[in-house]
């Protein structure tokens, strides 16, 4: 009985955490606080926003080329690195978005993004690095775009 009471007390003491993510690639531009961060090259502009509440990554892609740009939606990966150990999650948009016409953009909500919310498991995410890999077909060439993210946790 005492052990049960102790377990209840300990469980009640577990801190709850909230997350923020930042793009760490050189050249990333921050927008409004809490808004997406932007990375772009001559072909593609990407606005990346990790929305922990919605448990999704919101990726807005703009096709800067004069040809159709396609995303290989089935092959988007999110790699979480903890020291030498990496875990890979396959992300998919919540709806089939098709390809992107020249000059156009589209917004993809990439799911699932499961994150621990409390206790040591959540605290351990402080400073953890993520690599979002998005395969694109740009001017008919397959290119793998990497977006590097770092997580910060705070006690709620």
């Amino acid at each position: 009985m005492k052990a049960l009471a102790l377990a209840v007390v300990l469980a009640g003491c577990a801190s709850h955490y909230g997350y923020t993510f930042h793009v760490t690639d050189p050249g990333a531009r921050a927008g409004a606080p809490g808004g997406p961060e932007t990375l772009e090259d001559a072909d593609v502009k990407a606005d990346v926003l990790v929305d922990p509440k919605a448990e999704a990554i919101v990726l807005t892609l703009t096709n800067k080329t004069d040809q159709i740009l396609a995303v290989e939606w089935n092959d988007i990966r999110l790699t979480r690195t903890d020291g030498r150990v990496s875990a890979v999650t396959t992300l998919r948009p919540d709806t089939d978005l098709g390809w992107i016409q020249p000059g156009a953009n589209l917004v993809a909500r990439l799911l699932p993004l499961a994150l621990p919310r409390s206790g040591d498991a959540a605290a351990a995410y402080e400073g953890r690095r993520f690599d979002l890999q998005v395969p694109l077909i740009v001017r008919r060439e397959t290119k793998l775009y990497h977006y590097s993210l770092v997580a910060h946790v705070r006690v709620l």
């Binding site: 919605a54 448990e55 159709i68 939606w73 875990a87 396959t90 699932p112 499961a114 621990p116 060439e141």
Partner: protein, 608 residues
């Protein structure tokens, strides 16, 4: 019995299942042939899921029985097997299963899925979410005609529809359930509330909605509509193709891909210019040969920068790592992928590929390394700087994958006389030095044994002919026990122990004739000579002297006896006596003499 069950349950509950020595090769798994062993095997880096293929060319499970089935599902749900490995294994299992068994397997997986999608863990545990995603992908991408039992699947999907309608799922669970339910609708010919038809497909194709068309091509109920979806999917791929010839010859390519699933290049019509392995996409391993010299077998293991420690060698997929430049084809091509991908990219058929390494074989497009190898098959590797995997395309030498190579130090080749004190066997030893880093020892007499030794291990490796250890001398007999004394008398002395027997002489070492053949490389003759020795057997130890006999036990004491006479006085009838002394113990016998150690035999060396 009841106790054993309780112990098993407790061990299972605290995670103490059977343990296995790793690395475990596929051949060793085959010998163990159990569900827990399969889980242990698949948990290893670089394990090959082909062990799950009951028709694989290489070592594989003998049967997929209930025990293996439960272990495989349980091992995955508990996170012991990586999702990618598990899925490949299950797909191979399904490939060989009768449909009724497949239905039962899907029933079980979907029940697990239903429970996992509703679990709170799903929102907070990324690994758990990946396992759910893996079951979902396995189910949604299953081959046509395979499914669970309708009564089971309908109930599960109705339950998920209800959970979605009542908003009982978290965001992660909702995203999974929506995709599954959307796909189930496609199997009934509907998509987002409307019947799927060709105009809808045209609209989707114009927008490049390949994800949806893929689902239509694999899951629509009518074959005609599936083909129409496949055609539109191929057209999307053709429109995006980097190969000019694919876009120019779109109609012909479309026909080929819809028919075959890929766009094979006939190498006979397109001369091979060159071929190569893409370093960035090919796993790099350092191959380590573990020799079991006394069994005359060997095992190939590997390590890599991304794989610390020794493990089994990985299965290699040449698609995406082996490329060829062919005359008349505008860009490099690789091997064809799975037919359901409907990829119009020109590619090389798996049947055009062959390997020129007897230690590897191709199976279902993947390269596998043999597990149970005879020692004489690995000895020729000693001459090579590295481990080479030459590849032929359409029977022409094309490219070679090059990995590092090393040999673990083998057990010493220590030949001892078959009997105590016997002479060691005469040995004929040949030492070859086919490579500056390795020596090959071949002992051709009395029986053929071979061992490859890295030059760096010479100081720790030995070939010996050893005389038998001399027979130990017999222990002397124990002295007799002294006679017991009668009442009041002393016991007799014990007898002396007998002398121990003399130890036998150690056998002489056998004669060894050594041929050191240095071939191209410069030998360290001194170091090689120091590895070979004839050794006399140890002397037999003299037997211990027999223990002296124990002295006889002294006789018992006698009590005084009295009586009272008529005057009341006490009269002593018998004064009695005290107990007799124990007899003296006998002396121990002397220890026997040790035998003489054997002498080494003659070692003669010819350097060629």
């Amino acid at each position: 019995m009841k106790r054993a069950i309780v112990i098993s349950f407790v061990l299972a509950a605290i995670g103490c299942g059977p343990t296995f020595t790793l690395p475990m090769t596929a051949d060793q798994l085959l010998q163990l042939n159990s569900g827990p062993a399969l889980v242990a095997y698949l948990s290893q880096p670089d394990a090959s899921p082909s062990v799950c293929d009951l028709r694989a060319r290489g070592p594989h499970l003998l049967a997929f029985n209930d025990e293996v089935h439960s272990a495989l599902v349980d091992g995955f749900v508990k996170g012991r097997i990586e999702p990618v490995m598990w899925r490949r294994c299950i797909e191979l299992v399904i490939k060989n299963m009768p449909p009724t068994q497949v239905a039962s397997l899907f029933d079980e997986l979907l029940r697990a899925y239903q429970s996992m999608v509703k679990s709170d863990h799903l929102q907070s545990d990324p690994a758990f979410a990946e396992r759910v995603a893996t079951i979902q992908r396995l189910y949604l991408e299953r081959a046509e005609g395979l499914d669970g039992h309708p009564a089971v699947t309908t109930a599960i999907f109705d339950d998920l529809r209800g959970a979605l309608a009542k908003q009982k799922l978290g965001p992660v669970g909702k995203s999974f359930a929506e995709e599954v339910i959307g796909t189930v609708d496609v199997t009934h010919g509907n998509w987002q509330g409307r019947a799927v038809d060709v105009p809808l497909m045209d609209t989707l194709a114009a927008a490049g909605n390949a994800m949806t068309l893929e689902r239509f091509a694999s899951r629509l109920p009518q074959p005609g509509l599936r083909e129409q979806a496949a055609r539109r999917l191929v057209r999307i791929h053709i429109a995006l193709s980097a190969f000019d010839e694919v876009r120019k010859d779109a109609a012909k390519v479309e026909e080929a891909v819809v028919r075959d699933g890929h766009n094979r290049v006939v190498i006979a019509e397109h001369k091979l210019v060159r071929a190569w392995f893409d370093d960035k996409k090919t796993p790099v391993r350092y191959v380590v040969v573990r020799q079991h010299v006394w069994d005359r077998t060997a095992t190939l293991l590997g390590s890599g920068e991304d794989r610390p420690g020794l493990s089994v060698l990985p299965e290699l997929a040449f698609r995406g790592s082996l490329f060829a430049e062919l005359k008349g084809v505008s860009r490099p091509v690789t091997l064809c992928g799975a037919a359901q991908k409907l990829d119009p990219t020109p590619c090389i058929a798996v049947t055009d590929v062959a390997l020129d390494n007897p230690l590897a074989y191709l199976d279902d497009g993947g390269v596998h390394f043999r597990d149970n190898i005879a020692e004489n098959e690995v000895v020729p590797l000693a001459a090579n700087a590295g481990f080479s995997l030459p590849v032929r395309l359409a029977n022409q030498p094309a490219a070679a994958l090059q990995w590092g190579l090393g040999f673990e130090k083998p057990d010493d080749l220590d030949f001892e006389a078959p009997s105590a004190g016997g002479r060691g066997p005469d040995l004929e030893v040949r030492v070859d030095h086919p490579n500056r880093d390795r020596y090959v020892y071949t002992v051709s007499s009395p029986q053929g044994f071979a061992a490859v030794v890295q030059a760096a291990d010479l100081g720790a490796f030995h070939v010996d002919s050893r005389g038998g250890t001399g027979q130990s001398g017999a222990t002397g007999h124990t002295g007799s026990t002294g006679t017991a004394g009668s009442q009041c008398s002393a016991g007799g002395p014990g007898g002396n122990g007998g002398p121990g027997g003399d130890g036998g002489n150690g056998g002489n070492g056998g004669n060894i004739h050594v041929v050191i053949a240095c071939q191209a490389a410069v030998c360290d003759v001194g170091a090689v000579e120091r590895t070979i020795a004839s050794i006399g057997g140890y002397a037999g130890a003299g037997g211990s002297g027999g223990q002296g006999g124990q002295g006889g036990q002294g006789g018992t004491a006698k009590s005084q006896t009295t009586h009272t006479d008529s005057t009341g006085a006490t009269v002593v009838d018998d004064a009695g006596c005290s107990a007799g002394a124990n007899g003296a113990s006998g002396a121990s016998g002397s220890r026997g003499s040790d035998g003489r150690p054997g002498s080494p035999g003659r070692v003669s060396v010819d350097i060629r």
